[in-house]
């Protein structure tokens, strides 16, 4: 494919419909990446013009002003002024404004035009403006500003052909040939073609909002007939959605629906994906002779790819809802309602949904933090999201509670087991709040970001935008986080598989073979499980378990538990199947947990003859799981969302140090009190 010959930048304020226009122009030919060194996302796409010329369109982050105050706005300014080397700058700027509110939107447009780049002004949402009785004299506006002005509707596609034609028109533009330097060098008006009419030049020099708005008011008086009428529908909807009682109630109902959908509705699809990958592993085992290659493919790569794919149903569902809530304008109302409540813990209202989602899984939760504008708030939310008790912790809690917590009931309905589980959830939340409080006063200190937020008009989301959001998010996850997850899976597979061929393993394998030959299937299966257990105990993971034993002994864990902790970095629930393998049990079936529950209380240490697991050890282990970052996928997705290894490593260390400290306190404290 040839490289697009020109680059066009779309610039506009948030809610100007800029992204809908981008989606219209590029369709599926778009991709999302990051600007180097910052967390700001770069969205680019291709567009074919009527002449057949292919151009690259850059969808710049929404901004309210050219005076940069955030990394997003800095990017916009850098691109427009051609200062950012990696993004080169733009050959043409398309300034997008919401035609329903020219008075506020033209202010930014004038700043954009004042950079002197060749530009087109697009009056988007023109059909909405007309429906409100607003008539704009496009010709007069074009004459006044000295740039082509086009009325379009990204929603219906009206005016888009003319926009493509305008982008195709050769731009003989003396003023903008200094494309590497955005400062206006022409201080006098050089005619209409160069985009530096007197108005614009004065705005640039003055850098004064009061003056800028006076200029805008003058232009609007000239070109807009009929001022906008109040939006009755909006008033009515807002009356309900931000109502004192109904508002919070509807908010909770919507959040409960989103949570239920990622927690429960995604399960069938996740099971299906799981079954598919199991079948793939079986297929590989029958197609490739046993050996290192078969094991690498079936146990390493397929397991990793399966883990990656299993997140997709949750991500698709979450981003479907997120796109609907965001595009309809509801998300801003949700933030409006929740700001006071979340503000009590120093977080913005928009942190609510990501944190709630994290009770299902931190992966979609962390990816949902994208809607939080302030960098520090977003990082804080990302770093505390994994403390929410995700669904992968449940199998571990269920095993340990079932095996060690007595099934005591009070008043007939308050059960000790249920209370234990509740306590673990609350413990995670409390840890998150403490961490947020500390982070906000230390590493993520900074003045409280300005909250000022636009409450956009309600709009019906388009399928195009919603589907493109889902597609782009999933593609990003697969490319950026997926590769890390597969790589870590292979490392974990290697640790659990090599060195192979220990005499004990070989002997058990030979016995299993003999039993199978003799027709004793049950005995063969038992010996096969024992061989798998021996292989794991003698692997690098087994050795690592022994190496870390001195570090986890004070928490009450032996080296076999240590193996479980190491391998559950693949995903927390892997703890259950690993422990089953270690104790020579069938690990793949559904009853691995049930058989473990039976045998764990009776396991004794061969060296001391003492019980390895007591209720105190179980509580210590659950506390460890509540806090520890036992999840490579979380690490990978934080790496992707923060665009650096710094934060995921910080999170890994912080969570595991906290987990160690809390388990130490529980186990040693419990022993002092005589419970161990």
């Amino acid at each position: 494919m040839s490289k697009p010959s020109e680059r066009v930048a779309l610039v506009g304020s948030p809610n100007s419909g800029k992204s809908s226009l981008f989606n219209r122009l590029t369709g599926l030919r778009q991709k999302v990446a990051n600007y180097p060194g910052v967390t700001v996302e770069k969205t680019v796409g291709d567009c074919v013009l009527p002449s057949g010329k292919r151009i690259e369109i850059l969808d710049l982050p929404g901004t309210y002003s050219m005076a940069p105050r955030s990394p997003d706005e800095q990017i916009v300014r850098d691109v427009l002024e051609g200062r950012r080397e990696s993004t080169e700058g733009a050959d043409l700027v398309v300034a997008v404004v919401d035609a329903t509110n020219l008075e506020r939107q033209l202010y930014l447009a004038l700043q954009i035009l004042s950079t002197g780049r060749p530009a087109i002004l697009v009056l988007n949402l023109i059909d909405a403006a007309e429906a409100q009785g607003i008539a704009i004299d496009v010709t007069a506006l074009s004459r006044r500003l000295g740039v082509p002005v086009l009325a379009v509707s990204a929603k219906t596609g009206r005016g888009l052909d003319r926009l493509r034609e305008a982008m195709d028109t050769p731009r003989a533009n003396g003023h903008a040939n200094g494309a590497t330097n955005g400062t206006t060098n022409g201080d006098g008006p050089n005619g209409h073609a160069n985009g530096a009419s007197p108005t614009i030049a004065s705005l640039l020099d003055a850098n004064d909002p009061a003056r800028g708005y006076r200029d805008v008011e003058a232009i609007v008086r000239e070109v807009v007939r009929r001022r906008p009428k109040p939006d009755r529908l909006r008033i009515r909807i807002d009356h309900v959605l931000t109502h004192r009682v109904l508002g919070p109630a509807i908010f909770l109902l919507l959040m409960a629906t989103v949570f239920q959908s990622i927690y429960a509705w995604a399960t069938p699809a996740m099971d299906l994906i799981d079954t598919g990958f199991r079948a793939l592993a079986v297929g590989i085992r029958s197609a490739i002779p046993p050996g290192p290659l078969q094991s690498l493919l079936a146990d390493g790569m397929v397991a990793g790819a399966g883990t990656v794919a299993s997140f997709l149903p949750q991500l698709v569902i979450l981003f479907f809802f997120l796109a609907l809530l965001e595009d309809s304008g509801y998300m801003a109302r949700a933030a409006f309602i929740m700001d006071r409540v979340m503000g009590a813990v120093g977080l913005p209202g928009r942190a609510f949904l990501p944190l709630l989602s994290s009770f299902a899984c931190a992966i979609p939760g962390i990816m949902a933090t994208r809607t939080i504008e302030s960098r520090n708030d977003r990082l804080t939310t990302i770093l505390i999201a994994p403390f929410m008790s995700c669904s992968a912790r449940l199998p571990v809690y269920a095993l340990l509670i079932g095996a060690f917590i007595p099934d005591t009931h009070w008043f007939g309905f308050i059960g000790l087991r249920g209370l234990t589980l509740l306590a673990l959830y609350l413990f995670g939340i409390a840890a998150a709040l403490v961490v947020a409080w500390v982070l906000k006063r230390t590493v993520l200190r900074g003045r409280r970001p300005l909250y000022v937020m636009e409450l956009p008009p309600y709009r019906v989301p388009t399928w195009r935008s919603v589907l493109l959001t889902i597609r782009n998010r999933c593609a990003l996850f697969l490319q950026r986080a997926g590769t890390v997850i597969v790589a870590v899976s292979i490392v974990l597979w290697f640790l659990a598989t090599y060195p192979s061929g220990h005499p004990e393993t070989r002997a058990l394998q030979a016995q299993a073979q003999a039993a199978r030959a003799a027709g004793a299937t049950a005995e063969a299966a038992r010996l096969g499980d024992a061989a798998a257990g021996a292989a794991l105990r003698h692997s690098f993971a087994g050795m690592l378990g022994q190496v870390i034993e001195p570090a986890i002994r004070p928490l009450g864990f032996d080296w076999k538990t240590g193996i479980g902790l190491i391998s559950s970095f693949a995903a927390r629930e892997v703890m259950v199947s690993t422990m089953a393998t270690i104790y020579n049990l069938e690990s793949s079936g559904n009853d691995a947990s049930a058989s473990l529950r039976r045998i764990l209380p009776g396991v004794t240490d061969a060296r001391t003859g003492l019980k390895v697991y007591t209720p105190l050890v179980a509580v210590s282990l659950m506390v460890f799981f509540a806090l520890a970052c036992q999840c490579m996928s979380t690490v990978a997705v934080v790496r992707r969302e923060t665009n650096s290894w710094r934060w995921p490593i910080f999170m890994l260390v912080l969570m595991n140090v906290m987990a160690w400290g809390a388990s130490f306190a529980v186990f040693q404290g419990g022993r002092l009190l005589g419970w161990g």
Binding site: Y213, P248, R340
Partner: protein, 94 residues
Amino acid sequence: MSRDAAAAAAVALAPEAPPTRTLSMVPSGARAFVLRIDGDEHFARRLMDLGMTPGTEIALVRRAPFGDPIELVVRGSHFSIRRSEADRIHVETL
């Protein structure tokens, strides 16, 4: 400074600087004109970029269900800002 002393200081200042209201004191449904914005330049510039330049009319639409933030209309656009931020916007009510 005691409360009395503060009140005395306020009275003493009164002739030069007539007491103004801030936006957070404006009741829901009322309208006001921006006089000036206190606080650092960053804050004032941000609000002015959004159209809250001196002399602009602001309508206070409602308070959020839990009392904070508040919703405003400025030049046809709706914004929400926290009360602590509204406290720094001095207005003249109509």
